[in-house]
């Protein structure tokens, strides 16, 4: 690719010829305002805020979609342009609810930031809002369309990136609104709760369904024993909420913070990630012996699971019957932990801290009541636990590293990489290899499984048998993979033995509950943090986990056995996309 040199506000800058004027300006240190553009998405030119003047060209051009040209002379902030930007902001604000102080995005809202930056002191227009009720029908995501500015990021993410297509633009002109099909609510739509719409929304129109108040109540209730678990991907991102870098591990501080908040017992989902691997490797090797059906597809991503149930019901028999680590641990908390401490199960509150909005849905699934109660009572996203920590006035950055409670918290390096795309597969291979061959795996790193690529493949020799594996992240990539699997299944064959699917780009590090900005670049940095931890941990294979071994010995019996099956395995439900009477 050739390079091109142009001038932006008098600064000479050289960029590849495919760059946009917007990104050239960025490189020159000039921040052009925008409300619809996002570095991860294709620019649509909706908001008009990014207009610039290009010498020799009439009018103004949207810098987000204009390619650079050699010798271009660009002015990003003339008086006329500033005036137009303020005009656009005024128009938006006149149509926007004036309740910033009560809004979940207060202080983090891109509209607020620009209104402040451009000093909108005066709203000359008559104000109006849509007057809609907030859609709280979904278990993971809340939609407040009164606040939607129509940037289209959520529509693009849901349709073009995730290919779930649960929402789209409806209506025309100023009546345009983003909504699910045919007047259904979010909860009744095909939405899988992946929350990618939430992490790209610039304002407070889409957000997680909060459990903060309920969790405070549980913590404050002296009769309740609050038992928490923390997902792998959370540790690499929680620090961002407190000024730390993405990928900087915050797990030690988080253990301390939870105790400081009043959580009684702190376990770690990484423990049950190791457990999941033991169960799933056992399941996989069992399938290998019986030689069908292939591929085995992982099941820890609830966004993917609902996607599979909705769009690929014929492939459900391929999905591992293993529950996700969250749900395995929840079931164990409500049975093994409760029994071992002689507690009254009704007084135990099982809480999980997740990078994920779909986990909120997963926890309510009828199959997730193996303890005859909800195995996970509340799910808090990374953002929510950060809010609680701030509400309590805790100085997260300066907390000492704490330790979790024993029994269900020890973990291997294989567990912690669950938060990255390819991590589950790599963890599974480390264990499956040793289970199948009885030999020690020397080369523990399966680097072909790592990274942000949408699809990763490898062929691993397991005791003479070539095992073909694939990893995909992002539901759009998953769809392509599943189409292929379905087609091959019809032909009675399969390219792969084992496939890992994560709903979110990059894996759970990019989940709908993670700190915003949740850009692909940050996800990559968070992933680095997880592999660093893996490398530095004393043991790196799931089946080496002493607490896991103890659990089987003292409580579960054998992997895939009767008790394991009852508590740690689940079923899937084919779902109708829409049900209409007319």
């Amino acid at each position: 690719m050739k390079n091109v040199t142009l001038s932006v506000d008098g600064k000479k800058i050289t960029v590849p010829e495919c760059a946009t004027v917007f990104s050239a300006a960025e490189k020159a240190g000039i921040s052009i305002p925008t409300l619809c553009r996002h570095e991860d998405l294709e620019p649509k030119g909706a908001c008009g805020m990014c207009i610039v003047k290009i010498e020799g060209q009439p009018g103004f051009k949207r810098s987000c979609v204009t390619r650079v040209e050699e010798g271009m002379d660009v002015f990003t902030s003339t008086a006329a342009i500033r005036d137009i930007r303020r005009g656009i902001l005024e128009l938006i604000l006149a149509a926007h609810p004036a309740d910033c102080l009560q809004c979940i995005k207060h202080g983090k809202c891109e509209l607020q930031t620009l209104a402040e930056r451009f000093e909108i002191r005066d709203l000359r227009y008559d104000r109006y809002t849509r007057g809609l009720s907030v859609d709280r029908s979904s278990l993971g995501i809340v939609r407040d369309m009164n606040k939607c500015i129509g940037c289209g990021r959520c529509v693009q993410v849901c349709n073009e990136v995730q290919t779930v297509a649960s929402i789209f633009f409806h209506g025309r002109g100023s009546n345009t609104i983003v909504s699910p099909a045919c007047g259904t609510t979010m909860g009744d739509s095909v939405c899988v709760n992946c929350g990618q719409c939430v992490v790209y929304c610039p304002v407070g129109a889409l957000y997680e369904r909060e459990a903060v108040e309920e969790v405070w109540n549980a913590i404050d209730d002296p009769d309740k024993v609050v038992v928490a678990q923390i997902a792998p991907a959370v540790r690499a991102a929680i620090g961002e909420e407190f000024g730390m870098e993405p990928g900087e591990l915050g797990i030690g501080r988080l253990y301390s913070a939870l105790k400081a908040l009043g959580v009684d017992v702190v376990f770690d989902t990484n423990f049950s990630a190791d457990l999941t691997i033991v169960e799933e490797a056992t399941e996989f090797l069992g399938r290998l012996k019986k030689s069908d059906p292939f591929p085995l597809i992982t099941s820890c991503s609830p966004g993917w699971v609902k996607f599979g149930e909705t769009f690929y019901p014929d492939l459900l028999e391929n999905v591992s019957s293993c529950k996700s680590p969250q749900q395995m641990l929840g079931a164990l908390i409500k049975t093994h932990y409760v029994e071992s401490r002689g507690l009254d199960r009704d007084n135990v509150v099982s809480l999980s801290i997740m990078p994920c909005t779909a986990k909120k849905f997963e926890a309510t699934r009828p199959e997730m009541h193996s303890s005859d109660a909800r195995d996970v009572d509340y799910v808090l996203t990374t953002r929510e636990i950060a809010r609680m920590i701030r509400q309590a006035g805790i100085d997260f950055r300066n907390l000492p590293d704490g330790v979790p409670d024993p029994l269900l918290s020890c973990y291997s390096g294989a567990a912690t990489i669950f938060g990255a795309s390819g991590g589950v597969m790599e963890a599974a291979l480390r264990t499956a290899y040793e289970f199948a061959t009885g030999k020690t795996l020397e080369k523990v790193d399966f680097v072909d499984m790592r990274g942000m690529a949408g699809v990763k493949e490898a062929e691993i020799d397991v005791g003479g048998t070539p095992i073909k594996v694939a990893v995909t992240n992002g539901l759009g990539n998953a769809r392509k993979m599943l189409d292929r699997i379905a087609e091959e299944k019809r032909q009675g064959r399969s390219s792969y033995h084992f496939v890992e699917i994560m709903a979110c780009a990059g894996g759970c590090v990019g989940g709908g509950g993670q700190p915003i900005p949740n850009t692909l670049a940050r996800r990559a940095a968070r992933i680095e943090g997880l592999y660093r931890e893996d490398r530095d941990l004393p043991f790196r294979k799931s089946h080496e986990n002493p607490e896991v071994k103890a659990l089987y010995a003292e409580f579960l019996g054998s992997p895939g056995g009767e008790r394991a099956h009852k508590l740690l395995h689940t079923e899937y439900i084919p779902r109708e996309r829409y049900q209409f009477s007319g």
Partner: protein
């Protein structure tokens, strides 16, 4: 008066679907001549004629055809989504001389190397959707469309597609989006349709009337075409005349004729002429001085307007300009596609303020605020629709400012304003 007619002469045959009658009147003679030339020569001839697009933008047709580039597949699309208020000349052509359009399409397709053509007809012209299909079938049967046209190696098929009710889909890229079964959002340009159009392939979109005049260039020669009208806008034009005139209708006149010529042809204004809107809703509203304006692209630009579709709406003194402002701003708000912020939000505020003014509830502050809003829209709207709102708005606030202000000062007017 005017004695050079082309479209009108075919229309006067009175047998729009009779292909033999059309052919007997030298219909398809242009196609015959074009097919005897090389495609590049056909393009050159259209360039020489100076024909400019008749949909509203007035882009030189030959240049547009010449700029089509690349592609293993190319498309020709006829824009029959006529929706500009005051404009009904495409309906006239399609109802009375459909074979002219088909002939023009065949010549265009030959010139640009397209095998497949579509006529996108607005949904509100259902009879035309049917009659066009019938005309196409006749043309295929008679060898003017389909395989081996007029015995040559050239093959070109045309299909009719029906719109769903949207003005903005008359914009050529919004039309392509709609033709592809999407919401009618205009494209970001570049790339232009000539490079990436229908299904991402190089595409030419031409207006009905533009295509109807293409046969003339080949039947009578580019020089003959260029000798009519004015140097910057050659040829004949179909003017849609409506409003307060004795005989509203479509009148075929040379480009460059005056507004007065058209008023006279339409039987003269009824009552005292107060204002004329020229070019459609996105054109300025002029006072009676416009009678002397020449109706061609350059002259209208010089007069601070645009020829646009060539629509002329005559208004007498029973019309109050606050109401015109209200109707016009409401049109923009209802037809905005909503893709971009300035237009989506701006048209709504403008319609709101114009309605308040027209119903005697306006505020003095609205006038400058409307101007500011228009300026924001001109500077940052994604497509010409939003950019064009300033022309009618400014003309009404400036040219008829006293009257509008009087409404702001709570004057009541005669009829119920609320619809």
């Amino acid at each position: 008066m005017n004695d050079i007619q082309f479209v009108a002469r075919f229309a006067a045959l009175g047998k729009p679907l009779d292909i033999d009658a059309f052919a007997l009147s030298s219909g398809f003679s242009g196609l015959r001549k074009a097919l005897a030339m090389a495609p590049a020569e056909v393009v050159a001839e259209v360039k020489r004629s100076g024909l400019r697009g008749r949909g509203g933008a007035g882009f030189p047709t030959g240049l547009k055809w010449e700029s089509i580039v690349g592609g293993d597949e190319r498309y020709l699309v006829c824009n029959a989504d006529e929706g500009e208020p005051g404009t009904f000349k495409d309906r006239f052509v399609l109802e009375h001389a459909p074979f002219l359009v088909l002939e023009g399409m065949a010549i265009a397709a030959y010139a640009i190397g397209a095998r497949t053509g579509y006529i996108y007809v607005r949904g509100e012209y259902p009879q035309i959707v049917a009659s066009l299909s019938s005309a196409i079938a006749s043309a295929v049967k008679a060898g003017y469309l389909g395989e081996h046209i007029l015995g040559s190696d050239f093959a070109f098929g045309v299909e009719v597609r029906k719109g769903g009710g949207s003005y903005v889909v008359g914009d050529e890229t919004a039309l392509l989006n709609s033709l592809m079964g999407n919401r009618g959002y205009p494209f970001l340009k570049p790339p232009f349709p000539t490079e990436k159009g229908l299904w991402g392939k190089p595409t030419i979109v031409n207006n009905v009337e533009t295509l109807a005049y293409v046969p003339y260039i080949f039947a009578h020669g580019a020089d003959a075409f260029a000798s009519i009208g004015s140097p910057d806008s050659p040829g004949l034009k179909l003017f849609s005349v409506s409003g307060h005139v004795a005989h509203p209708g479509v009148y075929e006149f040379p480009m460059g004729s005056t507004v007065r010529d058209l008023e006279a042809a339409a039987g003269g204004a009824m009552g005292n002429l107060k204002a004329v809107q020229i070019g459609g809703t996105a054109g300025p509203v002029f006072d009676a001085a416009a009678l002397d304006y020449s109706l061609d692209f350059a002259s209208m630009r010089k007069a601070g307007g645009a020829l646009g579709s060539g629509a002329l709406v005559f208004m007498n003194t029973t019309v109050n300009m606050a109401q015109v402002l209200d109707v016009t701003m409401r049109f923009f708000a209802e037809e905005s596609c909503g893709q971009c912020f300035p237009c989506r939000y701006g048209t709504r505020q403008l319609a709101f303020m114009a309605n308040k003014i027209a119903s005697g509830q306006g505020k003095v502050e609205y006038l400058d605020l409307m101007r500011d809003t228009a300026r924001v829209m001109v500077g940052s709207s994604l497509c010409p629709f939003g950019q064009s709102i300033a022309l009618p708005l400014e003309s009404l606030l400036n040219g008829f400012g006293d009257e509008v202000v009087s409404f702001v000062k709570q004057q009541e007017f005669l009829k119920e304003a609320a619809v």
